[in-house]
């Protein structure tokens, strides 16, 4: 009913604990919702003048998801020594969500996932440190497909989105626009690659969000499997 062209592929990945191939796992659903929200934030930045209310609501949704993911311990983090410097309220800094091209250049260019945390055991998954310009898991997966994208070309900081409504010089607005390239339109192929089931659409599975409370214990297991999968791919590259 709301088909937006999201292609669905047969999922060969882990299914939800709840069933075999009928409903994507909660963590997958949550991840997909996060991806969708980040795309929305990007797209709204391209409009005539972004609707501030909508941007704020989407950003708050993203924060909520990230908070829950970090509580579940699935938020891929930096080396443990950064844990102390990363109180929970820094987690909700919009720095995490989006990086400008400038910021990406200044920081360490290689994917942070190659550092310590993935080799550490699951029990030591640290909280993310935004000071290191942490990536959200979806963008790390996008890096696997398109290494060139790790410059954050499609992710802009939320404060830039808000600040376009302030007195922004034309040149920087254009710069923001110029950074957006079309490769993120391939997002849906990436997103669909993460989808579990075939019959139910992304959203029919996610509808259960409204009612069901998440089962925290089961998510960790499937996320660890996801983690191993990611490690394998990275190690190979």
């Amino acid at each position: 009913m709301f088909a937006r062209g999201l292609k669905r592929k047969y999922g060969d990945q882990e299914e939800g604990v709840e069933g075999f191939g009928t409903v994507p796992s909660y963590s997958l659903q949550r991840q997909s919702l996060l991806d969708m929200s980040l795309v929305k934030l990007q797209l709204c930045h391209m409009l005539v003048e972004p609707n501030l209310c909508r941007s704020v609501l989407i950003a708050n949704t993203v924060r909520q998801i990230q908070e829950e993911m970090s509580r579940d311990g699935v938020w891929h983090g930096m080396a443990p020594q950064n844990v102390e410097r990363a109180p929970i309220d820094r987690l909700v800094s919009t720095e995490i969500l989006c990086r400008t091209a400038r910021a990406a250049d200044e920081e360490h260019p290689t994917p942070e996932l190659e550092d310590g945390p993935l080799q550490s055991s699951a029990s030591e998954l640290p909280i993310v440190s935004p000071a290191q310009g942490q990536r959200s898991p979806p963008s790390s997966l996008w890096e696997l497909d398109n290494p060139q994208e790790n410059r954050g070309s499609f992710q802009k900081s939320l404060d830039q989105i808000f600040e376009t409504l302030e007195n922004k010089s034309p040149s920087s607005v254009e710069e923001l626009f110029s950074d957006v390239d079309s490769s993120y339109y391939d997002l849906d192929t990436v997103l669909t690659g993460m989808m579990g089931g075939t019959k139910p659409s992304l959203c029919s599975g996610l509808e259960s969000f409204a009612a069901a409370a998440p089962p925290p214990s089961s998510t960790c297991k499937s996320d660890l499997a996801e983690l191993d999968h990611v490690v394998e791919i990275l190690v190979e590259t």
């Binding site: 009913m1 209310c53 708050n60 376009t164 007195n167």
Partner: protein
């Protein structure tokens, strides 16, 4: 529940029987973006009905004098004046377009023969004077009938010009332009009960204006954080109290309403009252905040209650009770299980408005599929009606519609998955005294009347 009675409305308990009266607008399937109606408002007497559209135009309809010969039909609304209120602009500083879409129209109470209204787009508010001219002066001394100046040497005699009748001409002229006071998008304007001041609200600030003064406004609410990265809440609507000129309310994207008293301080950052309903933990989801965002707030005519519209419901609040609303009416609860899809296609961000009837005994709001809902506060009955061309025979009664949520669909019911989410009724208005309603369905304006009277 005390609803103020009287005023010519049928007493609570009688069933309204809504009938089609008129429809305005093109029939074309292809809707021009500029023709989409973005606001609807009756004036204080109900004789004038104004609409604003995305193209920046204002169309005013006037009710015909009732024809005494046909007692069963009431006056129809016909076009009275059309004018271009706002034009598209370009903000060179930010390299961004400023839409000409009319976000709100508010009438001023009538004080003389002319009518005044405020119309606003995202950035600029304008005061328009709509006046009639049905006489023309003839016989000027210094210019001839064409308007050309006469040669002074040829004037040999003086005469007094005479007024002659002419075809009625309705002129709209901008009397005041209130600009450059809003960094963010204006979502509300509200005329104060003192009839001298009004407020304009954008996402982060509320300004107070005097109708006579355009180069100055006072900021009375400012919720902009020092660091924009910390922004988590915006203002979504604001309104002055209908009787107390020092009281205003504003709603937020987090589902809260703040009542401010302008007597307490110049900057009303600290509210006098804070209205918020505690969240139901069992229904919490990632979409909870979005659907709690209030899209409209309206005081009752009595001034004792206010109504708020969030995505799925309408709530009536007693101003004396901040902890929870006194009434909650579900508009389209069947959408709760579809929130993710509605988030994906952005429908979850649609801003529905709501309105009271003249006696505060009923409230109305819009939904999807060109459905709109009415709730009778006394009988606790509600009805779903549809604004469609199929039900457009003169005085045809509207049949109640029903959405089937699951299982077997009965005849005449429509299933949730068949709803057309592009046909949304965001703007409705109720005549201040009579049982006449105006419903904006995309580019068409429907007028329905109650059969009983």
């Amino acid at each position: 529940m005390a609803g103020a009675g009287g005023g010519g409305c049928p007493a609570g308990g009688n069933d309204f029987q809504w009938c089609f009266s008129q429809v305005k607008g093109a029939i074309d399937e292809d809707v021009a973006e500029a023709d989409i109606i973005s606001t609807v408002e009756f004036n204080y007497s109900g004789d004038l009905l104004a609409t604003g559209d995305k193209g920046g135009r204002v169309v005013i309809f006037q009710r015909e004098q009732e024809n005494k010969g046909r007692t069963h039909s009431r006056g129809e609304y016909n076009v009275y004046s059309t004018f271009q209120s706002h034009e598209p602009e370009f903000d060179y500083l930010k390299s961004l377009e400023i839409e000409e879409k009319i976000n709100k129209i508010r009438w001023l109470p009538q004080q003389n023969a002319a009518h005044f209204l405020l119309s606003t787009n995202d950035k600029t508010i304008k005061l328009w004077k709509i006046s009639e001219r049905d006489k023309r002066a003839e016989g000027y001394n210094l210019k001839d009938e064409d308007g050309r100046l006469r040669d002074p040497f040829r004037i040999t005699a003086l005469r007094v010009p005479i007024l002659k009748p002419m075809d009625l001409m309705v002129e709209a002229s901008p009397r005041r332009i209130f600009a450059n006071a809003h960094t963010y998008h204006i979502n509300s304007i509200s005329v104060n009960s003192d009839h001298e001041t009004y407020l304009s609200a954008d996402d982060l600030r509320i300004n107070l204006w005097h109708l006579e003064i355009t180069d100055r406004s006072f900021n009375i609410v400012d919720i902009k954080p020092a660091n924009m990265e910390e922004l988590t809440e915006v203002i979504t609507a604001a309104e002055f109290h209908p009787h107390q000129c020092n009281v205003l309310v504003y709603s937020s994207s987090k589902g809260t309403i703040r009542l401010c008293d302008m007597r307490s301080s110049a900057l009303c950052d600290r509210h006098a009252k804070f209205f918020e309903e505690p969240e139901d933990p069992s229904s919490r989801s990632f979409f909870s905040e979005i659907i709690s965002s209030i899209s409209d707030v309206k005081f009752s005519h009595s001034g004792r209650y206010m109504m708020t519209r969030d995505y799925l419901s309408v709530k009536v609040w007693d101003l004396n009770m901040e902890g929870r609303p006194v009434e909650t009416h579900q508009v389209h609860e069947y959408l709760r299980s579809k929130l993710c899809s509605l988030y994906e296609n952005d429908c979850i961000f649609d801003k529905f408005e709501c309105c009271w009837n003249g006696s505060d005994s009923a409230i109305m709001t819009g939904s999807y599929n060109n459905f709109f809902r009415m709730f009778d506060r006394n009988t606790r009955r509600d009805v779903t009606l549809e604004a469609s061309r199929e039900n457009s025979k003169p005085r045809a009664c509207l049949k109640p519609r029903k959405v089937c949520t699951g299982g077997k669909r009965k005849k005449d019911e429509i299933s949730v998955d068949s709803l057309d989410f592009n046909k949304k009724i965001l703007h409705t208005a109720w005549h201040p005294m009579e049982s006449i309603i105006a419903v904006a369905a995309t580019n068409n304006l429907y007028i329905f009347q109650d059969k009983i009277n």
